[in-house]
Symmetry: C2
Subunit: 251 residues, 2 copies
Amino acid sequence: MSERIWTAGLVVIGDEILSGRTQDKNVAQVAAWLNVQGIRLAEVRVVPDVTAAIVEAVNVLRTRNDYLFTTGGIGPTHDDITVDAIAEALGVPVVHHPKALAVLERYYETRGGLTEARKRMARVPEGAELIENRMSGAPGIRIANIFVMAGVPHITAGMLDALTGTLEGGLPVISRTIGCWVAESEVAVLLGEVERAHEGVAIGSYPFFREGKTGANFVVRSTDQRVVDACIADLTARLEAESRAVVPDGI
Amino acid sequence: MSERIWTAGLVVIGDEILSGRTQDKNVAQVAAWLNVQGIRLAEVRVVPDVTAAIVEAVNVLRTRNDYLFTTGGIGPTHDDITVDAIAEALGVPVVHHPKALAVLERYYETRGGLTEARKRMARVPEGAELIENRMSGAPGIRIANIFVMAGVPHITAGMLDALTGTLEGGLPVISRTIGCWVAESEVAVLLGEVERAHEGVAIGSYPFFREGKTGANFVVRSTDQRVVDACIADLTARLEAESRAVVPDGI
């Protein structure tokens, strides 16, 4: 029986990413967190603060994947339209979540009170649950297979932390890396041969230029630790047979 | 007459981004470069090293936008499948480009010669032109409205440089930023009012937490410098009328 692979999609919402103003950090952190849960990030879409664009991306990726994550657009200002877009995608109304209102009321008690603008952060698509946010007042949102997270990376990190271990997944992907000061073109044939010789592995080749020299890291991935170890051993032996110095754990 | 807006899509190709191993830097650099050309980045999709996934993303985004850029997967190894996927998306065969072969032959003359693996980097969809790459042997590829670039960010930077000024675009988006040590929820209503009062501007609000304090940057965008300046002046005056200290050029 072949193992079931669990997948997730991610929609990154924000003009600031598409304008080049902000360097996204959520893709990498969501990807790494998902892998520990045994879930593979299958596709990312970065869309602007435009309702129709968010609705389209959410509807495609939530249907194709076991889970869908979004980041960005859940604050109190006029450009925060994620909640409305998700509600539209699901065909449900937007309501104020009583527990979110209570959380925000407590959080803003000593910070000037719960204004109308701040109440916006308690708005959720009807039927949603909250994802805890220890960093600031506004919680994340879970509805159906959708997880709505903050845009600010350290707040998203806290929300992921709150979700750790709660999602069903499969076997996590194990990876090991070796490095070599070589132009990848010199070992391209060898890499392809090694990948074909080890069923269930994928070998990624990542070239770089440092200190005026050409090198590459080779990443071996599989869900089976023994398969990864055997493939790394074989790849190392074949590179060393060509008198190439291999750097364990990569360069 | 309303001005024409030119748009581009970007497909980032690579398992290393989706696994969280590598922090993407191409979205931000392509976005910033496009803006200088008067072209807006309308959507980004990050897809794995899987032909069907690349073909789908390329076909949707090249049709929706004036231009389509891709990054990643143009090296000499078995996991570099971008050229084949683009050819499939366009329904054309893959051929060796004579000029690319000549460039690679010259580049590898003193580096061990042009092997079969290295010849892979001269493969292009039939009908393609080359994009110059001063950094390493392998050129980028231009075919129809598609621009195929490297995954390694400094090589992509060189290819963008070679393309500067060659693409038709519209007016670049002008942006100005001011900062304020305030929770964005306290000025959310004000921000919305200012945006509505200035036609053709978009105001983005980007909160952060630094040195234990809450702050936000407000970015005003428009294609008209005078409109941006007027909006910034109005926003500054309204914030100062509430006794909030405004930091010019952002925090």
